[in-house]
């Protein structure tokens, strides 16, 4: 094996963890964009059983890699993302590439335009590897409820997790006990976590980027509402949706955010003020920081392991001189129920366009327009989507509007004000858990229905969406089971850079281990066979 190639193999699993590093290698010519693209494509094939991708855009990616290679040869690289493989959640419109939202309703739908965020990445020379799996229309917290089946967490196959399991001498079939990624951006999380790409776009309405990031040992950033364009993102809840960023390190998230942030004339809710490119400083002194620990987030459901890591993190800041104080967000407990009303109402409205007329699925029934609508929507949407449409329409009825929707909006304001009060008292960032526990096995997860799961799993993440605040989940350590646990930082509105700076400091302190997928990469064919059997048996 030539030296360069060996170097590449090495880098991929270790120092090439970060896009920022591979970018340097591209610039120095250690590897070419095409080589990098092909390597990622081969990993995508090897990890197909993870079900991370709905569509792999191999040809597009190779063509983009070729273009990128030409630029590098001429010394005209477009920037840090030129030639870097990325993936995009399948609820962002991609011109000429099928965009399904993991729903029968949009099977075969090929948008004629790119979402602004996709276009911005492509304009920087990024390589689009494919469209990643999700819960249908991003409604879920496990990435288990899409029409293309559940996404498997790469950590299920990590050396770290497997060794722990062996120690505990479980005799059950290992492969049938794979873990969920969290969701709804589980495909994006799995894609980044399994090294099929360096960064991925998720979407975050109640935690859909941060939750899978925590479960897959990644950095998951939900930027401030209004900082990043939603044009082309197929909406769940317009007033809370934000394109999310999943990367393997904080610096990468900052690079991607720097590219995506800013006003978009096509999205009237984006900020008008110009956004300067992000340059993330390395923080050396945290003594001037004030970290808030919201007491309401200490819930009984929180696993002891997460709780102890949370206090360990607080201690870490304190020991380095930061002021760590307990704060109160008194309306937190109303957040989930309030979210439920607002979310389903907007869902009911947003889903009204899917009638089978202009695009997407259309049933064969042609008795009347109404009959066609009904059958099309029944065939096109899964139970979760239909359930939310039903409740949303109930809340929006004239007789219910005041009692539900208006009240929920008022509560939303109270929740947002809670944050304003805390930040006005001098707190720089809030430190909270991202999830209640580490990732659970699929068999465990599906014991509860989607609604219950979403309510439980969004508990720490969802208030930031209500308030439009930036929040980032940073992996801290592995649990006793060898699975990643992430913690969340919530910042002031539009102080995304400050938030990431603190996250970067924290990341450096905790030195979260790299996922070890060597076995998986070396011998994925057998895994693939086993997985196939496993999933068949599960369905029965």
């Amino acid at each position: 094996m030539p030296l360069k190639r060996m170097h590449f193999q090495f880098c991929l699993q270790t120092s090439y963890k970060a896009a920022i590093k591979v970018s340097a290698a591209l610039k120095q010519g250690h590897i070419t964009p095409t080589e990098l693209c092909q390597k990622c494509l081969s990993i995508i094939k090897k990890t197909k059983f993870l079900n991370a991708y709905i569509t792999v855009s191999e040809e597009v990616a190779l063509k983009q890699a070729e273009e990128s290679e030409k630029r590098y040869k001429k010394g005209h690289s477009l920037g840090d993302l030129d030639g870097i493989p990325i993936a995009v959640k399948d609820n962002f419109s991609t011109s000429g590439i099928e965009t399904t939202c993991a729903s029968n309703m949009l099977r075969g739908y090929v948008p004629p335009y790119n979402a602004t965020v996709v276009q911005k990445l492509l304009d920087q020379g990024a390589l689009l590897m494919g469209k990643t799996n999700l819960d249908e229309f991003a409604m879920g917290s496990g990435s288990t409820d899409g029409v293309f089946g559940p996404v498997k967490n790469p950590w299920s196959y990590s050396k770290q997790y497997r060794e722990k399991r062996k120690q505990k001498s479980h005799c059950e079939n290992e492969d049938s006990n794979w873990l969920i990624t969290g969701g709804s951006s589980g495909g994006s999380a799995a894609a980044v976590s399994a090294f099929t790409c360096f960064a991925a776009l998720g979407s975050d309405t109640g935690g859909s980027t941060r939750n899978p990031a925590a479960h897959c040992g990644l950095v998951g950033l939900k930027p401030s509402y209004g900082l990043v364009s939603r044009h082309g993102l197929i909406p769940l809840v317009n007033s809370m949706d934000v394109p999310g960023i999943l990367t393997r390190c904080v610096d990468d998230a900052a690079i991607v955010l720097g590219v995506l942030a800013g006003h978009d004339p096509k999205d009237s809710t984006t900020i008008q003020d110009p956004v300067k490119p992000f340059v993330l400083p390395s923080l050396t002194d945290v003594s001037k920081l004030c970290i808030g620990i919201p007491k309401e987030y200490l819930t009984p459901e929180l696993s002891s392991e997460v709780r102890s890591l949370w206090s360990k993190a607080a201690n870490l800041f304190e020991s380095e001189g930061a002021k760590v104080i307990e704060v109160s967000l008194p309306h937190t407990s109303y957040s989930i129920v309030c979210y439920h009303v607002l979310c389903t109402s907007e869902v009911a409205s947003n889903m009204a366009r899917f009638d089978g007329l202009e695009y997407g699925h259309r049933c064969d029934i042609d008795v009347s327009t109404e009959a066609m609508y009904a059958a099309t929507r029944r065939e096109g949407f899964n139970d979760v989507v239909r359930g939310r449409i039903l409740s949303g329409n109930f809340f929006l009825l004239k007789e219910n509007y005041e009692n539900y929707f208006v009240k929920a909006q008022k509560v939303r304001r109270l929740i947002a004000n809670d944050f304003v009060t805390v930040f006005n008292s001098g707190v720089d960032v809030l430190l909270t858990p991202t999830t209640l526990s580490e990732a659970v096995p699929y068999t465990e997860f599906i014991k509860e229905d989607n609604r219950t799961r979403s309510a439980q799993d969004d508990i720490f993440t969802q208030a930031a969406n209500m308030a439009g605040l930036p929040a980032v989940s940073v992996p801290m350590a592995l649990s006793n089971q060898g699975l990643p646990i992430g913690l969340q930082f919530i910042g002031r509105a539009f102080c995304d850079q400050e938030l990431l700076t603190i996250a970067k400091w924290f990341e450096k302190q905790v030195q979260f281990p790299v996922i070890q997928l060597q076995e998986l990469m070396d011998d994925c064919s057998s895994v693939f066979e086993n997985e196939k059997l496993a999933s068949v048996s599960l369905k029965q």
Partner: protein, 519 residues
Amino acid sequence: MAAPMLRLCCPGRRWALACIDGCSRHRRGAPNGCTSSRRRGQSSVAQQPFITAQKPRKGEHEWAAVVGLEIHAQISSKSKLFSGSQVHFAAPPNSLVSFFDASLPGTLPVLNRRCVEAAVMTGLALNCRINKKSLFDRKHYFYADLPAGYQITQQRLPIAVNGSLVYSFCAGKNRSQVINKTARVKQIQLEQDSGKSLHDDLRSQTLIDLNRAGVGLLEVVLEPDMSCGEEAATAVRELQLILQALGTSQANMADYEIQRQINELENGGEILNETRSFDSKLGCTIPMRDKEGKQDYRFMPEPNLPPLLLYDTESLPAGADPQQVIDIDRIREQLPELPSVTREKLVQQYGMLPEHSFTLLNEVGLLEFFQNVMKETRAEPKKVTSWVLNTLLGFLKQQNLAVSESPVTPSALAELLNLLDRKAISSSAAKQVFEELWRNEGKTPAQIVSEKKLELMQDQEALEQLCHAVMEGHPQVVMDVKKGNPRAINKLIGLVRKATLSRADPTVIKEILEKKLAS
């Protein structure tokens, strides 16, 4: 800033009819029912069937109308309300449809500045309070030509409220008494139009044209302050003129609809909640589609549009980009002259009768025609008014033509009136010239006059000779005059005129004859 052009289209309306019987069981004017159009928001009047307690037999009751109106004016902007698609009439189907108009998932509305300016302008012209903050809402219903499944409108907080529309009509003998009435303007809201469904019954399919989907509309809601079809029609006409002063407009459906409802009630029928559209060819309204009983539109704030903020000179943020903000005061300064002011000016400037000023404004293009004639003629304004309102308008009406289609141009009429003014031709000759002009054979009035030898005889001597000859030829008539028969002279005048081929001024003939008879 160019004035936004407005075009009135298919007015929706809110009717409320109150039955009056001898015992006054029904309070006059109490609304006990209404219809409202499908995409036109909830009516402010309670929606219930018209006849509830009793169904009157034909002729038993008198029905009094209380008329409220919802008028939809299509904003003549270059592009649609929330997308960049062009607005054109009669473009090939589905050729003016952006991704947003087709409701492709992920697309977002971007508000058209022109449409906002048009709404502010209209609000100011209708004495409304302009809301410095207004909101957009989604109004949901499933219909094939509504791609998103909802219409973006302004239900909770519209752009303009609490205005008034002053309209006047002429009444009394000779219609010379001007009566002023006021209808309150409840609100003006911005909203999207829907697309168009074309039903092919033969193949039992519906074809959708989305060219119109998303075109900006102004909905002007008038309180039920009008008591009859004529009032409503006059109010609509005045509104139309106001919108025209800012742009253009057409359509009127008031009179027919109210009569239809009265007939229906007297025949014992029930008025269904339905949207009716006005068919100008048939001269009647026709049902468009069922109102589907009690429709719950499940209104919700439009989350993709931030509140629409407007400013005035006081609140304008320092250093604001004029392209990013709308200054109400600036629009107010640029407001064009409104029809009521124009009419007043006509009356004052030309000593015109008020009813004439109404007629001039009510016909599209007639005022402009009049003003163009005035520019080129020395004739008295009263003369010009008379010729424009009587002769020209009469010819136009007879042939059902619009002013713009008149074969006689303002310049030609001005030239004709100049000839008349300097007594080059007689009034009757002028009528003849006008008829020639109407035939539109490309000749000028002067050419026609000279070809047809229509000039007035100016030669005093020749006239005197003619008079002399006539007197000589008709001694009996001369005798009659001398005996004191006052009518006999008219016969002589007629005979002289005949001899001049009607080219002489009768007053001049009379003068000569009198002189000769006295001598």
